[in-house]
Amino acid sequence: MKAPPPAWVFLILRCLVGGVFIYAGALKIRDPQAFADSIATFQLLPMAVINPLAIVLPPFEILVGLALMLGWWKRAMSLAVMILLAVFLVALASALARGLQVDCGCFGSGPPSAWKTWYALGRDVLLLGGAWILHRREWRAAGPA
C-alpha cells in the first residue's frame, strides 16, 4: 500500500490555501464599496444582501484562512473553504455563461475582462483541489467506516 505523504506536505498546503484566503479577505476589507460593486456585477443576489455580504465575507475569509494556517478545526475549516470556493465557482461560471463582464473582486478590484474571469475560475479550481485534499485527510482521520 502506498505510504501517505509526510505531514509537512499538508502543513504547506494548509499555509498556501489559508494564506490565499487571508490575503483575499484583507484586500476586500480595505475597500468594501469596491467589493460590493463586484458582487453586484454578477447579478445573482438581491440588492438587500449585497452590502451585508461585502461586510461579513472578508472577515470570514480571514478567520477561516487563519484557522487553517494555525491548524485549528482543520476538518471544519477545510470544509468551509470548499463550500466558499464551490459558491465562487458557480458564480464565476454563471457569469461566463451569461457573457457578463465581471470582476471577481477576489484580490482587490480592477478592470474586468473575460481572461481575468477564466483565470479566477482556474485558480479557484486549484484551491478547491487543495482544500479537498486537506479535508479528505482529516475526514478519514476521524475514524474508520
Binding site: Q33, M47, L63, W73, P111, W139, R140, A142
Partner: protein
C-alpha cells in the same frame, strides 16, 4: 451505504454527527465574522451603508449634494465620443480641460499630461477640489477618459457633468489603455 462508507470516513451515524459538528463550527466562525465585520464597518471613516446603491445612483447623489439641478430637468449639454487622434490634438493644443475619471490610485501611477483627477469613485471630493478650475467656464469643452473601452466610469462622470450644466463633454472611450498602447506621453 453510509456517508462514512461512501467517503472513506467515520462509520455509521458518526459521520453525520461529525458533519453536524463541523457545520456548527463553521456557523460559529460565521457569527464571529459577522460581528467583527459590522464592528469594523462602524469604525470606518465612511461606513458602508446596509443598502447597496449602484454606482450611477451614488454619483447622482454626489452631484445633488454639489448643487446640481434635479435629474428630471432636461440638460442642455451633450456628450461626444472622440478617438485617439482627436484626443492627442486636444492635449497638444491645450485649451480644453482634461479629466481622468479613474480612481486616484491609478491616476497617480500615470495619466494623460495635464489631466485633473475627477474620479467616479470620489466624485464629490475630487470635484470640490477642482471646482474653481471646472466652473470658470462651463461652456468650455471638457475631454474625459477612464481606463479603457469596458470602463463605464467616464460615461457616468460625463452624464453627471452634463447634468451639472457643462455644455460639451468629449469622451475618449479608448481611455488610458489605448493612450499608453499608442506610445503617447504620460505624466505622473
Amino acid at each position: 451505504m453510509t456517508l462514512g462508507e461512501a467517503t472513506g470516513g467515520p462509520g455509521g451515524a458518526d459521520s453525520w454527527k461529525i458533519l453536524r459538528k463541523d457545520m456548527l463550527t463553521i456557523g460559529l466562525v460565521a457569527i464571529v465574522s459577522a460581528l467583527s465585520g459590522f464592528a469594523i464597518n462602524q469604525f470606518r471613516g465612511t461606513p458602508l451603508p446596509f443598502a447597496y446603491q449602484p454606482r450611477a445612483e451614488r454619483i447622482a447623489q454626489a452631484a445633488t449634494r454639489l448643487g446640481a439641478p434635479a435629474p428630471t430637468e432636461t440638460p442642455t449639454g451633450d456628450v461626444e465620443h472622440i478617438r485617439l487622434d482627436r484626443m492627442a490634438s486636444l492635449v497638444q493644443e491645450g485649451g480644453v480641460l482634461i479629466l481622468d475619471a479613474r480612481a486616484s490610485v491609478f491616476y497617480k501611477q500615470g495619466h494623460i499630461p495635464g489631466a485633473l483627477n475627477v474620479s467616479r469613485e470620489e466624485f464629490e471630493a475630487d470635484y470640490s477640489r477642482h471646482r474653481e478650475a471646472l466652473e470658470k467656464d462651463k461652456t468650455r469643452p471638457i475631454a474625459l477618459y477612464c481606463a479603457d473601452e469596458s470602463c463605464h466610469d467616464s460615461e457616468l462622470v460625463a452624464q453627471t457633468l452634463i447634468r451639472m450644466g457643462y455644455q460639451k463633454v468629449l469622451l475618449f472611450r479608448g481611455g488610458w489603455y489605448e493612450w499608453t498602447h499608442a506610445g503617447m506621453a504620460e505624466e505622473k
